[in-house]
């Protein structure tokens, strides 16, 4: 029972919040609102998958929100200049490159990954400001603008389908490939990973590259949703994304967590935000709730595993 609670209390919280929404909040269950909720969740879920990979190897990437914001600017500029597909290609490639730089710097210097990400956050913010000359950039490519609300087969919204597809791919990667298992191993014990013949540096690099690519994809979709690219999009995003992952049970010290539970973390936060918007609760209260839920979940997590694995330092 306790084990079940430990694994799935996020799911229980989500169901409770969702039911509260259904029975207590007017307009919550309307198709338009549910679709909106799913779209937001898909957006955060896609970058959440990448962030989970990086968290699994024991790294915290502070630059993740800025990667998304920078990609939104780059997507607007490059699709306007080169056309849709080349622009998408350039954006994703730049995301991979960012991840590559992050990963390579951490491999070379062997310092706390957070320090490196602090530097790359600053650089990305600067590059974004330079590229957008300090303003918001309007998307002029009509294909990009229509992307977010496109429905595949006239039915499933494209971002949701993309998210589900990536979720399945990520699940397979983590469960059935050497790379995915490598994430878990070097996250829980890098030295053991090294001894069992896992190419630690390359696995770490791969996690960051995947994360960069997924952040770029999210930036692209975000640009399509907002019809703008802007540095300010990334300000609160890092906190939202990492909070969602942590609430979804991904450990920030590595080696623990899964994509399914992460998705419930994303859904929980997005549902809470959605309900509060419907109830016209101020954005500041939403911030407060996110912060409190984060601390609460950390605390519950701490309580549930306190007795078994207490390593007192």
């Amino acid at each position: 029972m306790k084990r079940f609670l430990r694994e799935y209390y996020v799911l229980i919280l989500f169901v409770l919040v969702f039911l509260t929404g259904v029975f207590r909040v007017p307009y919550f269950i309307k198709p338009g609102n549910i679709q909106n909720l799913l779209l937001s969740s898909a957006l955060y879920g896609i970058v959440g998958i990448g962030t989970t990979f990086v968290l699994l190897i024991g790294a915290v990437d502070l630059s993740i929100g800025m990667q998304v914001a920078f990609s939104s600017i780059l997507a607007c500029i490059s699709t306007a200049a080169l056309g849709f597909w080349p622009g998408v290609f350039v954006t994703i490639l730049a995301g991979c490159l960012t991840g590559c730089v992050n990963g390579a710097a951490i491999n070379l210097m062997k310092v706390n990954p957070m320090i490196i990400s602090l530097g790359s956050m600053s650089i990305l913010r600067g590059l974004g400001l330079i590229a957008s000359s300090g303003n918001d950039i309007v998307c002029s490519n009509s294909t990009l603008s229509g992307l977010f609300h496109h429905r595949v087969f006239g039915l499933i919204p494209l971002p949701v389908l993309l998210f589900l597809l990536l979720l399945v791919l990520g699940f397979v990667l983590l469960r059935y490939t050497r790379l995915g298992i490598g994430f878990y191993v070097i996250g829980s014990n890098p030295r053991a990973g090294h001894m069992t013949g896992i190419p630690v540096s390359r696995v770490r690099l791969a996690a960051f590259v995947l994360c960069g690519a997924l952040a770029a994809l999210t930036g692209l979709l975000l640009a399509s949703r907002m019809n703008t690219g802007s540095v300010t999009l990334g300000d609160d995003m890092t906190i939202s994304i990492i909070s969602s992952c942590v609430i979804g049970g991904v450990s920030t010290i590595g080696g623990k967590g899964g994509l399914l539970r992460m998705s419930f973390g994303v859904l929980l936060i997005q549902t809470i935000n959605n309900i509060m918007s419907l109830l016209a609760v101020a954005a500041s209260a939403q911030l407060l709730i996110t912060g409190l839920v984060l601390v609460l979940v950390l605390f519950i997590d701490r309580l549930l595993r306190s007795k078994e694995q207490e390593v007192e330092i």
């Binding site: 320090i115 530097g119 500041s284």
Partner: protein, 318 residues
């Protein structure tokens, strides 16, 4: 850690020699190329512009020496600046005292969560960042504050004594106090012991929980003090004014050579990191470069500083 005595022992211990070289070269180059850069007036304005961030960074240094991190400083600064600005017209004395108390109390809360409940310092302070930001919005209801008060409170941010701004004096005194506590007190010795090797520190009877609470309280107090300084500088406050300051302060601390894993660095290193950031900002403004260029330069500088530190540590351990 080397323990050389003499004027240069500071630089041996703090391992920021490489970046110091860069700073000297940079200052020399700027002095040649930009007229008016190397003047007393400009140096005073450099120090004045980085005093606020310097006080915050000095507080964060304590937290980072124990291997933890404090991301909540920026929003704590917004909160205290708004409280301070709202209280000026009632009582300037309360406008100084209340924010400092609030800041220290919030710092203690951070410390209890991280030290007492053993929550991950990164995530816990990130959650509290949101909480403090939200409290700021509740308190101000989203409004901006400003005051036309003329008196001693205004002197904190705008006054000068013998040509030296009061802001700079507060900054220098803070650094001196922090350096004294870190180098010459029992608390400081324990701080470095915990940062260097938490397990052996525990075996030698150091109570790391209480210590964590104290370092977060110091960080909260410094964030509040920098909030008061910021408010008094412009006699105005708005609920998002501290956003991003925590990252700037963290970058300054890290450029100053602080190593979170081995417990190196300290108040002098942080002072140095803050000066580097200030010189960069000032020279970029004089060269009419935008804030975008400045962010890029700061990021690259952080990479370089960390690389130098890593190389020097490896050479030492060889």
């Amino acid at each position: 850690m080397k323990n050389g005595k003499g004027p240069l022992s500071l630089f041996n211990r703090s391992s920021f020699g490489g970046v110091l070289g860069f700073l000297l070269l940079y200052v020399a180059a700027m002095s040649v190329f930009i007229p008016g850069f190397f003047s007393l007036g400009n140096w005073i304005s450099i120090f004045k512009s980085c005093a606020v961030i310097g006080v915050m960074a000095s507080g964060i240094t304590f937290v980072m020496l124990t291997g933890n991190i404090d991301l909540s400083c920026g929003s704590l600064m917004s909160l205290t600046a708004c409280i301070s600005c709202a209280l000026i017209d009632t009582s300037p004395f309360l406008a100084l005292l209340t924010p400092l108390l609030v800041g220290t109390a919030c710092g203690i809360l951070n410390g209890v969560l991280v030290g007492g409940l053993k929550l991950n310092s990164f995530v816990a302070t990130m959650g509290l960042l949101s909480v403090y930001q939200a409290l700021t919005f509740f308190y101000t209801k989203g409004y901006y504050y400003s005051s036309t008060y003329i008196g001693w409170y205004r002197a904190i941010g705008q006054g000068e004594i013998l040509g030296i701004p009061v802001l700079v004096m507060i900054f220098v005194v803070t650094v001196l106090l922090c350096a004294f506590v870190q180098r010459h007190s029992v608390f400081g010795a324990r701080l470095y012991a915990v940062g260097g090797n938490p397990i052996s520190a525990r075996f030698s009877g150091i109570r790391s929980r209480e210590m964590t609470v104290v370092v977060y309280a110091i960080s909260g107090f410094c964030a509040a003090l920098s909030g008061v300084m910021l408010c008094s500088r412009s006699m105005a406050a708005q609920p998002k004014m501290g956003q991003g300051y925590e990252f700037e302060a963290l970058i300054a601390v890290l450029i100053g050579g602080l190593s979170m894993s081995s417990g190196r660095g300290g108040a002098w290193g942080t002072l140095f990191g803050v000066i580097v950031m200030g010189v960069l900002e000032n020279s970029f403004a004089l060269m009419k470069l935008g804030s975008g260029d400045q962010y890029v330069a700061e990021g690259i500088l952080l990479f370089v500083a960390v690389a130098i530190q890593v190389i020097s540590e490896r050479r030492e351990s060889r």
